[in-house]
């Protein structure tokens, strides 16, 4: 096995670990793009240019972008939730639940 392939394999193992260990989703997106790039290079070294091209297009461009968009949408919802308060319709009203349940249990 050539040193290049071995090195890239080890790098892939390391960058995969980094993706998992990046606990903050925003940081993880960049780790993920890096991982995609390393994988793309590895595939190139493994003589798979077709796969490398798709991995770089999908793994380093489109997928991280979807993650960023999703995170932006989530952050917006959080911001909105802070200003409007959480209770409204998000979590069922526990008091009401309890009352209804008790009525049902008593029916027997």
């Amino acid at each position: 096995m050539s040193g290049l392939v071995a090195g890239l394999l080890l790098l892939a193992a390391l960058s995969g670990l980094l993706v998992v260990l990046a606990r903050d989703p925003r940081r993880q997106v960049f780790a993920m793009a890096g991982n995609g790039l390393v994988l793309g290079l590895l595939f190139l070294a493994l003589q798979a240019p077709d796969v490398a091209l798709s991995e770089i297009a999908v793994g380093t461009a489109v997928t991280p972008l979807l993650f960023l968009a999703a995170l932006a949408a989530i952050a917006m919802d959080r911001a909105k939730g802070r200003t409007e308060g959480r209770a409204k319709g998000r979590t069922a009203d526990p008091a009401k639940d309890q009352a209804e349940d008790r009525a049902v249990d008593h029916a027997k």
């Binding site: 096995m1 798979a48 240019p49 077709d50 796969v51 490398a52 091209l53 798709s54 297009a57 999908v58 461009a61 489109v62 972008l65 979807l66 968009a69 999703a70 932006a72 949408a73 917006m76 911001a79 909105k80």
Partner: protein, 267 residues
């Protein structure tokens, strides 16, 4: 289960799996000297049989073309699913979309930005088409080309801003592209049946090796995949970026976050 116990459970399971993994790794055919004959048979036989240079394309679009049909449908299915999920909250009708609401802040962009983005988007689109077209001869093909072309849409977003982008990229057109690409693929598979041949029979003239036209039916399948993938990924990007825009009441967005308070005060 508390996270700690769960981690312990996983650690135990992985510890039990470790010897098995080592045994299997030791028994694997040696790396770099595979014993599977199928791949080498494809390399030996198919250039002759199909006149194409790219064996991966030959496998994808001809030998195992039916897998690719399933794969395209999977993508289409996921995009349809994501669309349903995301639009569920926004409502499905295009004309009540956030993008068409009046009063949305329009972020001014420098003319240079717009121009650069337009040029870059065009170049990306052309590059994608070229990658797709040369799929039979060089690495690439409908899938890769489609993804690249779809990502060109993003550059348009950066340049035109939201409102302009929405008019330039109508999602019904993307959905139609996605669907019609897949329909074309199904036709490629189904039409030979009418003539009494097996599905996906490559009955077109095969063309010349290393030529842009080589591979016969593969060209049509490749085009179908390119069309479908462009539509799918384009739609996916549109739907996800739409999510970063607040629908209805609060026209907040990434760039307009700081204006949020003033906007709400006004309405």
């Amino acid at each position: 289960m508390t996270p700690r116990w769960r981690l312990l459970l996983l650690a135990l399971a992985l510890a039990a799996l470790l010897p098995a993994v080592l045994r299997v790794a030791l028994a694997m055919p040696e790396f770099g000297a595979p014993t599977a004959v199928l791949g080498q048979s494809v390399n030996a036989l198919v250039p002759e049989l199909r006149h194409v240079a790219n064996m991966v394309a030959a496998v994808n679009f001809d030998l195992r073309g039916f897998d690719t049909l399933g794969e395209e449908c999977m993508l289409l299915c996921a995009v349809t699913g994501a669309t349903v999920l995301l639009r569920g909250a926004r409502g499905e009708r295009g004309d009540v979309r956030a993008g068409h609401l009046p009063g949305r802040p329009v972020i001014p962009r420098a003319d240079a930005t717009v121009l650069v983005c337009r040029v870059a988007a065009t170049l990306t689109l052309l590059f994608g088409i070229s990658v797709a077209l040369h799929g039979m001869t060089t690495p690439g093909g409908g899938f890769q080309g489609g993804v690249i072309a779809a990502s060109g849409l993003l550059l348009l977003y950066l340049g035109e801003g939201y409102a302009g982008w929405r008019t330039l990229v109508p999602s019904p057109v993307l959905a139609a592209m996605e669907g019609s690409g897949a329909v074309l693929f199904v036709l490629c598979a189904g039409l030979p049946l009418i003539a009494g041949h097996p599905a996906l029979t490559n009955g077109l003239p095969l063309g010349e090796w290393k030529d842009l036209y080589s591979g016969g039916l593969m060209i049509a399948v490749n085009a179908a995949v390119a069309l479908s993938v462009t539509g799918s990924f384009g739609l996916l990007l549109v739907e996800f970026l739409e999510e970063t825009r607040e629908p209805a009441d609060a026209p907040a967005s990434n760039e307009a976050d700081h204006e949020d308070g003033t906007m709400r005060a006004r309405t």
